[in-house]
Symmetry: C2
Subunit: 223 residues, 2 copies
């Protein structure tokens, strides 16, 4: 039965539009397609060998994820988050993640481990001066926090918020360095959780959001 579940992903062959969307999403989040860039239907479609209709469908999928923005009769652009966007994003994250973290004592051990593990790995790498994956580790930590709520809808929406924040980092010309700053914060939160002082951990997380929002929006204004 487990093998069947594994094969399921293969059987569910993605549509052409889905594959194109995945490719474009990767390009955008990797920074090859910079925020603000306009994506011409003809140029992209010709380069990828898909028809305009299929490409437009891929654009729609990425618009749903807030990776792209659509302007009527003007085309689609790589999203370029503003200071107001960053405030909105952190307001949402504050409510979601602080709320989820308060459930710490009511969830399974596997859920708790999904919060601890990313921090443990990041600490291990940092001790070896390896800061290559601190960005994704930080995101995994916060994904784990959202996962405490046990709602796929909430986790999916949070993934969209994270993706949008990655674009904001890109605009601020900060990607890895940004996350790196906050590893000590994550350690402290995990320690407080392990000590059973959940409310203190929540408060610490809230302060983290304050600092991160201020830092990021400050860099955005300078741009």
């Amino acid at each position: 039965m487990s093998t069947l579940a594994q094969n399921k992903a293969d059987l569910e062959r993605a549509s052409t539009a889905q594959k194109v969307a995945d490719m474009l999403r990767e390009r955008v989040l990797d920074g090859e397609l910079e925020p603000g860039l306009r994506l011409s239907e003809e140029a992209i479609g010709g380069a990828l060998g898909v028809s305009r209709n299929t490409l437009r469908e891929a654009f729609r999928l990425l618009t749903r994820d807030r990776i792209l923005v659509h302007e009527h009769s003007r085309g689609v652009f790589v999203r370029r988050p503003t200071g107001a966007d960053v405030r909105d994003l952190y307001a949402a994250r504050r409510v979601i993640e602080c709320g989820a973290l308060r459930l710490w004592n009511d969830v399974t051990e596997a859920q708790r481990e999904a919060v601890r593990a990313p921090v443990r790995q990041a600490v291990a790498r940092a001790e070896k001066n390896d800061f290559s994956k601190t960005g994704s580790a930080n995101i995994q930590f916060h994904r784990g926090i959202v996962g405490l709520a046990g709602s796929t809808r909430l986790s999916d929406e949070s993934d969209r918020l994270f993706a949008e924040l990655m674009l904001a980092f890109r605009v601020a010309h900060e990607v890895d360095a940004f996350h790196q700053t906050y590893l000590p914060w994550n350690r402290r939160i995990v320690e407080l959780l392990n000590n059973g002082t959940v409310e203190q951990a929540v408060q610490q997380l809230d302060e983290y959001f304050d600092a991160a929002e201020k830092d990021l929006s400050g860099r955005l204004l300078a741009d």
Copy 2:
């Protein structure tokens, strides 16, 4: 300047796909198109006088809002929420709304009024034995709570959660009667908020979610 803002909506003429999507959304939420129904591209497109491509774009918009579900090479269907969906929805709402409600003392008076007003109106109508709009009033109450967070992204996602719940009510053959039951709960929450006992209001809201989830999933199983 205010007139300019008013005209803005007119200038931003909706695309054909958007108009089609709005029409279909209304039909679905009104119950004319029942959960589980398959929407044929040819039939719907022919009836509305739009091409398949445009209709497919409208379908994508509604799929984003979780009103429709798309199955590869099989078509789109009106979403039919299951018991698992209801649990997931309430897990998300619990985190979002309880988290937002905790911000009660940190928001503007206008935001607080957006929570109180729907309950006041519902009470006034109930005293006149008018239960016509209790459903939308209940939703307005919860929209107000989410609005305390001050995040359009969070509010938009919550609207999608609400729409999905409306479909679940439809499957459970309960729409207005369901909301009506919970007016007393809403009153109590507002009273606790006005008394300044925010944490008690949050706890009351949490219990509301427990009761509502149990009630709704029970009716779903019976179906």
